[in-house]
Each structure stands twice: as C-alpha cells, then as structure tokens.
C-alpha cells in the first residue's frame, strides 16, 4: 500500500452518470462503440434491470406474505364484502345488486385507501431503519430496481389479498343474485384494486421522502385525510362559492384517485347517488379518461419515489 506520496497520474474528468454521476476513469474507448453495440448494451442493461426488479419484487412479496399482510388484507376485504352483500341488501336479488355495488364505492372509498396506505408507508423508511435497505444497496442493484421492485412486491401482495377477500363476497353475491352479476362485480373489484395500487404508490412516495417511520405514518394518514375527507369538500365548496364551471369538477375528480374509483363504480351501476357522490358522478369524464387517470396515479407516484430515492441519504 502506498499513501499520500503517490504521484498524481490522473486528473478529474467528466463521465457518464449512472447512480451518482461523477468521475469516470474506466470506460471503454468511445471510438470502439458503434450504434449497434451501444444498442445491445442498452438492451442488456434494461434486461438486467428488469430481472433485478423482479428479484426484489419476489423478495418483497415473500416478506409481505410471511408477515401475514396479504392474509390480513384478504380477511379485511372478505369481511367488508360479506358485510355489504348481507347487510347492504337484506333481500339481495337482481333488483338490489346496483345498490349493493354502489355501497362498495361509497364505503370502499374509505377502506381501500386506508389499507393501501397502511401497507406501504414503511416500504423504504422501514427497510432503512432496520438496515436491510443498506444491504440491498450494497448489491449491484440500481436505485430504480430497488424502489420499483419493492413496490411491485407489495402491490402483488395487496392486490392478491384484495382479490381473495372480494372473491368471498363475490361468491355470496352470486349465490344471492346469480352469475349475471359477476361482470359488474368484477368491475368494482378491479377499480378498487387500481385505486389501492394508486394509494400504495403514494405511501411509497411518502416512505421515500420520510426520514423516520413515524413521519411516513403521519404523511400516510395526512394523505388519507386529504383524499378521502377534505378534497371533495374543498372542491365542491370552491365550485359552490365561486360559481366555477363544471369542468372544475372533472379536474377535481382527476386529481383524486379515490374519486376516480368512486366515479368508475357509480357510472357502472344504475342507481342514484346523492350528495358529493352524485356531483362527481355527473362529471363529463369518459371511461378511457378515468382509466388513464388511474394508471397515471399508479405510475407517477412510483416514478417520483424512484427519483426521490436517488437523493435519499442511506
């Protein structure tokens, strides 16, 4: 080993930024790289990132299942769906099905975000506090593979639990109302899962930005209060007070994944919703726009979390 006395054979220089962006002194000569080889290298990198993301996702899914999170979600949504089917229509038959499905939207809008936020708030900050995040970062994994992989793993556990739970209520509904109800019920369930994935993404973002688990929990609760309780009241208050045009309602719906879920479900059932639900359901948004908005609410928070993660000090 030699120390300070070593001669200075290198100087600082710029280089292609990957994880950190800084000094490069080990890159292949640029003149040897053709477009084809560069394309192949980019393809290999993408494949490697996808494979590593899948590995992290499988690991995270196994953690979630072994912690009984998926089971807990399944039990929660089984009880929820059974309660709505049994109590929502004491004499459930084809004529009562729309009312039961509308109940899923009206009450699910409270439960679905809560379950997703509870499952996701410690995704990053919890791993950081336990030391397992630093072990992941010691591996040849990109930061996006870690963040997206963790999200996908928990998303599969959450979605699987919800689908299993809703399946119990669905079986009961079929028993009462026949197989003809399955299509509408599946639409409700898939919309609920999509909304849950959106809120899971928001909790992932909160978890990435928070420095302590308690902060992430507070942010997750704040997110729930805003999107479930305050947002609609604030939007409708503004519209009513300032006589704003109806497109403002559409914007308000697009700005809230809980509303997207509610509108998507209520549009599909022939029942009359009153109050806030009635107002937002009357917005001019088409189904493709609602679906695109839900997809954006899933993708954007995860992308933002991946970006924020690069700035996080572990």
């Amino acid at each position: 080993m030699t120390g300070d006395a070593t001669d200075d054979r290198r100087t600082s220089g710029g280089g292609p930024a990957t994880d950190g962006g800084g000094v490069s002194n080990a890159t292949a000569p640029a003149s040897l790289q053709t477009d084809d080889t560069a394309g192949l290298a980019a393809g290999d990198t993408l494949r490697a990132t996808a494979a590593n993301t899948a590995r992290v996702a499988v690991r995270e899914y196994r953690i979630a299942v072994r912690r009984r999170w998926a089971l807990g979600v399944a039990v929660l949504f089984a009880l929820f769906s059974i309660a709505l089917v049994v109590l929502g229509g004491s004499d459930v038959g084809p004529s009562r099905v729309p009312a039961v499905l509308a109940s899923f939207a009206q009450l699910g809008v409270y439960l679905v975000p809560l379950a997703a936020l509870a499952l996701g708030f410690d995704t990053i900050v919890g791993a950081d506090e336990s030391g397992s995040l630093e072990m992941l970062l010691a591996l040849p994994l990109s930061s996006s593979a870690v963040v997206v992989g963790k999200y996908v793993g928990r998303a599969v556990a959450l979605a699987g639990g919800m689908l299993a739970g809703f399946a119990v209520g669905g079986a009961l509904l079929v028993r009462f109302a026949g197989f003809g109800v399955l299509g509408a019920y599946a639409g409700v369930v898939l919309a609920a899962v999509a909304a849950a994935l959106a809120f899971l993404g928001l909790s992932l973002l909160a978890s990435t930005l928070a420095s302590e688990k308690t902060h992430a929990l507070g942010a997750a609760l704040g997110t729930w209060v805003w999107f479930v309780l305050v947002h609609d009241l604030a939007a409708l208050g503004l519209v009513a007070t300032f006589d704003l045009p109806s497109w403002v309602i559409s914007v308000a719906v697009l700005a809230n994944p809980a509303d997207l879920f509610r509108v998507f479900v209520l549009r599909g059932v022939s029942t009359t919703a009153g109050g806030i639900a009635g107002v937002i359901t009357s917005s001019a948004l088409t189904t493709p726009v609602l679906l695109a908005a839900l997809a954006a609410w899933i993708a954007l928070p995860v992308a933002a979390a991946a970006l924020a993660f690069r700035r996080r000090s572990v």
Partner: protein, 308 residues
C-alpha cells in the same frame, strides 16, 4: 495497477468538507485498516468505493472501475455496512440465495456456492433457521457471507465487529484472517478498535479531518511510534526492592513497583538484556512485554479521540 487507487479525492457536502485531497493505493490481496475519529471521512470514502457517491475532484478506481460505474462496480465489491439488517422471516440460506442471484452466480453453482459460504462463516448448522432468531454475532457473520457469495475482488467491512461479544469478535477475526491468508481478495476494514486493525491488517490509513494523516505498514508504523517497550513482570519477592535494583540496569528508563508486579520501561534494543538481568536479580513468575501499538501511532498523529 493497484486494486484501489485513490488520487487527490475531494468531497464536500454544502460547507462541510468530508474529504480533502485524500490519496492512497491498496494492492491486490492486501488487508488495509482505515481508521480515524468520527467524521474523519471514512464513511464518505466507503460510499465512493461502492459507487454511492462520486468525488467532487480527484479520481477513485476500484478494481479498474470508477464510482460512477454503479452496479458494475458493486458486482466486484462486497460491502458489509455497519448497520446490516435482513428480513427476520428469511432463513440464512434464503438471504444468501437472493444475494447470489443478484450477484449473477449461475443457477447450477448457486446452491453449492451458498453452502460453501455458509461453511466459511460457520453458519452451516443455522442455515435453515430464521434470521430473526440469530444472535448479533451470527447476523454479522451472515452479513460477511453476503459479501463473499459473489466472489468479490474487494471486500469493504465497515466496523464489522461493533456490538459483538468477545467470542463473536474472535470468531469474526478468524474468518477474516483466513480470507486474508487463503484468498487474494483485497480487504478494507474500518474500526475504532485499534487492536483489531493491528491483528487483521497489513497496513493502515489514518484519516483525520478529511485527509490522510499517516499511511503505511502496521509493523513499521508501530516501530516508528516509539522505541520504548513496556515490561510487566510478576516477581516472587519484594517488588519495591526489585524495582529499585532494576532502575539501575542499562537501557531502563523507569521501573515502578506494583506489587507483586514490577513495571519497567526500557529501550527496545535492551529488552532481552533487561529480562536476563531481571531473572538474575529475582525469581520471575511471569512476564509480559508490550510494544507500542497503533494507539500510540494514533495518539501521535491525531492526538487522541474516540478510537481506542
């Protein structure tokens, strides 16, 4: 080309200078200790060596790669952070299997490689137990196993024995010594326990306030730290009288009685003569000779602090 080449590296976080012109090399197969007070820049340097930070100025080369090589760099480097945690519901074998997959160990060799590494760190019998039930020492050994499973060129161990009991420390030292002796992996260890660095490392780099204060061979640095050797002898007789007699021996600086022992400070070159004269003067029941350690080097260069 050295395995690690660090040249005039500077790193600042706002107004704080973490590294200020750090330069040193580490050869392949060498075991190097990186010591310094808290905030000396050790963690920042380790972050660069695993590709999580890049220098503001200067260059860093690890196994021929720069810090911005990112994942490619971490394929070559095994890093055991000070705070290493694992999913408590996973078994040790499952943890290693995941690390082996990410590190690209071929499927047909993965099980064998995991079993081999478990054997190396002494966890073969606990491989299928949940990590949540592991002791601190077992967790650290599992952490070391995760760094070894991909056959790295460079091993970075950040305070590997912190919070371990003496038996755990001894076990860990034996594993690192075996790695150092039997493989050509380059090992960089940080520790506040200077006796650990003395035991494990061929050479040492002392960082202080973002710069290299001293770097070199451990034995040579200890020798340079002082020419006085301490001799503590347990004597069968009047320790005070023996101390008075010994103080007149050639090469003896001081001799003090701590009944039943006599503590003698003498020149390194005179130590054998002093021991012979001591045996002539009285019956010696046992004797302990202590050369200046890294703590003396550290005190001289950094002036005390929190390393011990």
């Amino acid at each position: 080309m050295s395995e690690l080449e660090i040249r005039n590296v500077e790193k600042r976080y706002g107004t704080v200078t973490a590294l200020d012109g750090v330069s040193f090399d580490v050869e392949r197969g060498e075991t190097v200790g990186l010591i310094g007070r808290n905030g000396a820049g050790k963690t920042t340097l380790f972050k660069m060596l695993v590709g999580h930070a890049t220098p503001d100025a200067g260059t860093v080369s690890i196994a021929g790669l720069s810090p911005d090589a990112g994942t490619a760099l971490r394929e070559r480097v095994g890093y055991l952070p000070e705070r290493a945690g694992f999913p408590p519901s996973f078994t040790g074998r499952e943890v290693l299997d995941f690390h082996a997959r990410v590190r690209g160990v071929p499927a047909d060799k993965r099980d064998h490689q995991v079993a081999r590494v478990l054997q190396t760190v002494g966890l073969a019998d606990a491989a299928d137990r949940r990590v949540g039930g592991y002791s601190n020492g077992m967790n650290r050994r599992l952490g070391l196993a995760t760094t070894l499973v991909g056959d790295p060129d460079v091993l970075l161990l950040d305070e590997p024995t912190a919070a371990l009991d003496p038996a755990g420390v001894a076990d860990f030292h034996e594993i690192v010594e075996a790695l150092s002796r039997e493989t050509d992996v380059t090992i960089v260890v940080t520790s506040h326990v200077l006796s650990e660095i003395e035991r494990l490392c061929d050479s040492v780099v002392i960082l202080d306030e973002g710069g290299v204060e001293v770097a070199g061979d451990v034995t040579e640095l200890r020798r340079r730290a002082g020419d006085t050797v301490s001799v503590v002898a347990t004597v069968d007789g009047d320790a005070a009288a023996v101390a008075r007699e010994v103080s007149d021996f050639a090469g003896v600086t001081t001799a003090t009685a701590e009944p039943p022992r006599v503590r003698i400070e003498c020149d390194r070159t005179a130590v054998f003569d002093v021991l012979a004269d001591l045996r002539d003067a009285t019956d010696v029941l046992d004797v302990e000779v202590t050369e200046p350690g890294l703590d003396a080097v550290f005190r001289t260069t950094v002036g005390g602090g929190d390393s011990r």
